[in-house]
């Protein structure tokens, strides 16, 4: 909704000087405020001694009356989030006093205004905006040509002006910038260059000659400006604020300017529009018509004026703006969650589905959709929910212009096919299979396009029999009573319970250990599945359902660890009994390679707080002597190293050699194997031991999929990546139950 946006201005500059061509809304107002916060909002501290002294003996109504007087006086100055006062501001009388005059210590100076003459009231609205004369403000918004063709921002007290001024080149002609520009000699920003190239390439696809032969061009510069009300810095973190303004610039100011600039170069569009608006204004002033009459007439005769209005309305209602500038259709919008940046995080803390901040995710969505959209991750196992309006969506709508390539027509036909197939029960990879499309190069771009145009959203794939576990969000988009009424209207069937009880049973279900999916909790009958499909989609569209995902972690239990250690001891013992000499040799080699081995073992009795099992203590005591005799035997073992028997011992023990027996990792304390995919040798030994005594095919499957049991991969992801069925996964979970922990939470 872009709370901060106050107005759009179009400013130009010619030989006659700078001029404000048009503005929308006609009478924008900024909110007045103190430059410093009030000392206290509750006025307790205003006169605490007095309050204490008169605590009991003053009639309470006087105190209140005083308090209210203070409050109303202060109210006008205290900054409030624009959303709070939005409704009120519409009915605000136009303030005639300078808003900050009471605030700034040096304001008296401004009473002396040299470039301003007394004007009659009809005239005033033409010539004043934000308490500046339009002439003056236009001058401030027309920078030196060296500051043109780049991002412009100017802060005056609490107003922020953002734009991208463009001007004629050194020869006084409107031309696309060549590679080398006079102003860009230092630190040319890559964004500017890139986008100017875009404009160029866009223009080159059209068969116009770049410059018309009209040397009469009087327009030197034009500047499409966004005026924003600078939010109070206390309302949000500052880096968010700059991101916010940058998004406004990129999505609106830059795009509009790019199109206007192109049309000015190609067909002198902006100059003609300025001519129309300028002469209309002069005519209305001369006739003494009120300003509002001029504005309504301007909206009819000028396409720039009507575009400014349409764009402003769309931004304020946070919808897409479909506008047409000189027959070029444009779709502009701001990210839906942009305004959230202006509020402190606590207000939205309850959004327990955190937006993805992952860089990889952002890359998948592309730069347009990565910021302020709060999109779930784009993954093959996700699905797509088509939103209202998609049926009426005419894929050919943008293809009626004069410059359509056959490619685009193919795209449109593909889109129609895609829309027919798309369903929440199909994952994106299923759709790719059905359509025979490539996931990365065809499915994802289509999804991005639909999401960007707010025709669809990415959701978790829903089980076709509705055996999906859902939970409900902490907050709803609308009051529950409104939603219930709508729900009742859309689903009057007697089988369907009222919305509150439906939600209650969903919410309550997740505490159950089994049968907690939607079918078992709500549907309960196969005949009702199609009907409840509609219910689920209805809820999903309003963000009232979140899929809970299963995540799995592996625990190495004490019992398991003891078993593994025992087996190791046993093997060690056996080899010791058979080849006593070799054992010393190999254990020495081991120690030579890994000094930690020796250190840990010798320190163990003193430092270990975990009681050693008898066997471990036993091993320890037996090893000491070999350590003592180390020096005397080194030469002997190194000589014996080449023997054939040794080879066998080495291969047998080589796996053990990598295992950090006795290291801090080797305890009997239960632990998580946090990433089985990159398990250490000891962890691998534990994993292998878990499969002892299990069915061979189950054990093999466990071995294959345990890499995903890291607590991060969701069940959907595991099924997709490991290419197994849900039943197969369930089997593994059942057989390895004692070593697995499961987690259910939203993605």
């Amino acid at each position: 909704m872009a709370q901060t946006l106050l107005a759009f201005l179009l400013v130009n500059s010619s030989a006659k000087g700078p001029n404000l061509v048009f503005r929308w809304p006609p009478n924008p107002e900024s909110t007045s405020r103190l430059s410093r916060p009030l000392p206290s909002e509750d006025r307790l501290e205003l006169d605490n001694p007095w309050r204490a002294a008169n605590h009991n003996d003053s009639p309470p109504n006087t105190v209140e009356a005083n308090g209210e007087a203070v409050a109303t006086a202060a109210e006008d100055y205290q900054w409030k989030s624009p959303s709070v006062i939005r409704d009120r501001s519409r009915s605000f009388p136009r303030t005639t006093s300078l808003p900050t005059s009471a605030v700034n210590a040096l304001s008296e100076e401004r009473l002396f205004d040299d470039d301003e003459l007394a004007e009659d009231p009809t005239d005033e609205k033409y010539h004043r905006i934000f308490d500046y004369s339009t002439q003056f403000l236009a001058g401030m918004l027309c920078p030196k040509t060296s500051l043109c063709h780049q991002k412009f921002d100017l802060v005056i007290d609490d107003l922020l002006f953002i734009g991208h001024p463009v001007c004629v080149n050194d020869d006084g002609r409107w031309q696309f910038k060549r590679e080398k520009s006079s102003s860009g000699s230092r630190g040319r920003s890559s964004i500017n260059r890139e986008s100017m190239d875009d404009i160029k390439s866009e223009a080159s696809t059209r068969a116009y000659s770049p410059i018309r032969e009209n040397e009469s061009s009087w327009l030197h510069m034009f500047h499409f400006v966004l005026v924003l009300d600078l939010p109070d810095p206390s309302s949000s973190a500052s880096e968010n604020m700059s991101k916010y303004f940058d998004t406004m610039y990129k999505q609106i100011a830059f795009t509009i300017t790019a199109v206007l600039f192109q049309e000015q170069v190609l067909s002198n569009f902006v100059e003609l529009e300025c001519d129309v608006l300028g002469s209309l204004e002069a005519e209305y002033i001369a006739k003494g018509e009120p300003f509002s009459a001029f504005v309504s007439q301007a909206l009819e005769v000028s396409s720039i004026a009507s575009v400014m209005k349409a764009l402003f309305d769309a931004v304020k209602s946070s919808t897409m703006a479909y506008i047409t500038l000189n027959n070029i259709p444009l779709e502009l919008q701001l990210p839906p969650f942009l305004d959230h940046l202006l509020h402190s995080e606590e207000e939205y803390e309850l959004d327990f589905v955190d937006p993805q901040e992952d860089e990889d995710e952002a890359r998948l969505w592309g730069c347009d959709l990565s910021f302020g959209w709060r999109l779930p991750s784009l993954a093959p196992w996700k699905s797509l929910l088509l939103l209202e309006g998609v049926q009426e969506l005419d894929p050919y709508i943008n293809l009626r212009g004069p410059h359509v390539s056959p490619d685009e027509r193919d795209h449109a036909e593909g889109l129609v096919k895609f829309l027919e197939v798309a369903s929440v029960t199909l994952s994106l990879s299923d759709m790719a299979d059905l359509l025979g499309w490539n996931l990365e190069t065809q499915i994802y771009p289509t999804v991005r396009w639909l999401v960007h145009h707010r025709r669809a959203k990415v959701v978790d794939t829903i089980h076709s029999d509705l055996k999906t576990i859902f939970t409900i969000p902490p907050k709803f988009v609308a009051p529950l009573c409104t939603l219930s009424a709508e729900f009742k209207r859309d689903f009057p069937q007697p089988e369907i319970p009222p919305l509150p009880s439906l939600l209650a049973s969903i919410s309550e279900a997740s505490s159950r250990q089994s049968d907690n999916h939607f079918f078992a909790v709500v549907v309960r009958s196969k005949e009702l599945i199609p009907l409840y499909h509609e219910v689920v989609i209805w809820l999903l569209k309003r963000d009232m359902l979140f899929t809970l995902h299963l995540r799995i972690r592996i625990v190495a239990t004490t019992e398991l660890k003891a078993r593994v250690r025992q087996a190791h001891e046993y093997k060690l013992e056996r080899s010791r009994g058979q080849r006593h000499q070799d054992r010393i040799g190999s254990s020495l080699r081991l120690r030579d390679q890994d000094p930690a081995f020796y250190d840990v073992n010798t320190r163990r009795p003193g430092s270990s707080w975990f009681p050693l099992p008898p066997r471990g203590a036993h091993r320890f005591s037996r090893r000491m002597p070999s350590a003592e005799s180390e020096s005397s035997r080194v030469s002997e073992t190194s000589l014996r190293h080449v023997g054939e028997d040794d080879e066998e011992v080495l291969t047998d023990e080589s796996d053990d050699e990598n295992i950090a027996w006795g290291s801090p990792e080797d305890t009997l304390w239960p632990s998580l194997i946090s990433d089985p995919g990159t398990a250490s040798p000891l962890e691998r030994r534990w994993l292998a031991a878990m499969s002892e005594g299990k069915d061979e095919h189950i054990a093999r499957r466990f071995e294959r999929i345990n890499q995903y049991f890291d607590g991060k991969s969701t069940d959907d992801e595991i099924l997709y990546r490991a290419e197994i069925s849900r039943k197969q996964l369930r089997e593994v979970l059942h057989h390895y139950d004692e070593y697995l922990q499961t987690f259910l939470h939203p993605a």
């Binding site: 509750d42 307790l44 210590a105 040096l106 304001s107 100076e109 401004r110 002396f112 205004d113 470039d115 500046y132 004369s133 003056f136 001058g139 401030m140 030196k144 500051l147 780049q150 412009f152 921002d153 100017l154 802060v155 007290d157 230092r186 630190g187 040319r188 920003s189 810095p233 206390s234 309302s235 949000s236 500052s238 700059s242 402190s344 606590e346 207000e347 803390e349 327990f352 589905v353 955190d354 939970t471 919410s507 309550e508 997740s510 505490s511 972690r553 304390w669 239960p670 632990s671 998580l672 946090s674 607590g711 991060k712 922990q741 499961t742 987690f743 259910l744 939470h745 939203p746 993605a747």
Partner: protein
């Protein structure tokens, strides 16, 4: 200085006036030569300033101002030049409607913040004197903490000018160079400065980082200290904050604290809000056995964090009881679900026998999740 990591660095400080003959011009800048003044204005600048520097020399003041006059022309070869003054002069020395307002303008890579002032007086040739002291930062810098600084500097200088013609008189104005130098050095190095100007005026500045306001404090919220508050309490602290701090233990809610500390409820709320602002406490819900908790997404990362694994056991175990292992505790966390009260959860998992302090167990989870949210 640790503060340098989040406060933006000043690239340049300059002082500009509206010159009767030349219009807007930079009189002094520190460091020198970073802001290019146009070549046309340059020759006239040195011509005009020569009598001024001679007066200075006559008075026997430090040779610095005159040497500055020599070195002030920009070196064309130097690539250190930040931007051209001509580009932004209309925002630095603007006409009256902008005077007395905070103005931030930008060039391609830099941002210039200033507070232009216009002082009226018949003693001036044009009946007014306009000046501006500006700071130059990187374009991306966050300037909210400098806004009050800029306002104050201009306010003090305007007062000096009104009292003693400090800026406009040729005798005292060279002192501006030293003031700029000290502003540049001190604010960049120490984030604070104290510059005496004359017998009555001085510039006292300290830069404070800007935090967003905390949400309003509710009576039923439970403040929980994130640092050892009691060790930080000093004698000159606010009395209410001191009293309130004593009762912040992760159990008492705001209203209860007000009762225990015998403080006004509203003042208690404010004290808690103040501690929240500095992010030394957080607020949690009142612990009750009828509460319900659920897992959040970040549990998938937190479960692997060494600081979570290592701290959890000792924190949540009752004194004298053996510490439960992390997989066990994690399992307990994973069984907290909506629809299941803490009491029911304790019953079904024998939490009592494990020696786990359930209140500390839930608040540990809440703290870690919100720390990493």
């Amino acid at each position: 200085m640790p503060s340098e990591t989040f406060l933006p660095r000043i690239h340049s400080v300059f002082y500009a006036i509206f010159d009767v003959k030349q219009g807007p011009k930079i009189v002094y800048q520190v460091p020198e030569g970073l802001i290019a003044t146009s070549p046309a204005g340059l020759s006239s600048l040195s011509a005009a300033s020569s009598p001024k520097s001679s007066t200075v020399a006559l008075e026997g003041e430090a040779p610095r101002p005159s040497s500055r006059q020599v070195s002030s022309p920009p070196h064309p070869s130097s690539n250190r030049v930040l931007f051209d003054f001509g580009d932004i002069s209309k925002y630095v020395i603007p006409s009256n409607p902008l005077c007395g307002r905070l103005v931030i303008c930008a060039t391609r890579n830099h941002r210039i913040i200033g507070f232009p002032v216009s002082i009226l007086g018949s003693e001036y040739k044009r009946n007014y004197f306009r000046f501006n002291l500006c700071f130059v930062f990187e374009r991306a810098a966050d300037l909210s903490c400098y806004k009050p600084i800029v306002r104050k500097v201009s306010r003090v200088l305007a007062a000096c000018e009104e009292e003693s013609m400090f800026l406009s008189s040729p005798q005292s104005s060279p002192a501006m160079h030293a003031i700029l130098e000290q502003l540049y050095e001190d604010l960049n190095s120490y984030s604070e400065t104290s510059i005496p100007i004359d017998a009555f005026n001085s510039i006292e500045l300290k830069i404070f980082p800007f935090y967003p306001n905390p949400p309003p404090v509710k009576d039923w919220q439970v403040p929980l200290a994130l640092i050892n508050l009691k060790s930080r309490v000093e004698d000159n602290w606010d009395l209410t904050v001191k009293k309130v701090c004593e009762h912040i233990n992760g159990i008492n809610h705001v209203r209860r604290i007000a009762q225990l500390a015998d403080c006004d409820l509203q003042l208690t709320r404010q004290a808690v809000a103040h501690l929240l602002y500095y992010q030394v406490i957080m607020t949690v819900d009142i612990f009750q056995y009828s509460n319900m908790y659920t897992l959040r997404k970040n549990v998938q990362w937190l479960a692997d964090e060494p600081h979570v694994k290592d701290e959890c056991g000792p924190y949540v175990t009752k004194p004298g009881k053996p510490i439960a292992d992390w997989p066990k505790l994690l399992h307990l966390y994973s069984r907290l679900k909506p629809g299941k009260t803490v009491f029911e959860w304790m019953e079904s998992h024998n939490v009592h026998d494990l020696g786990v302090d359930v209140r500390r167990f839930t608040s540990f989870g809440v703290i870690k999740v919100s720390e990493n949210a």
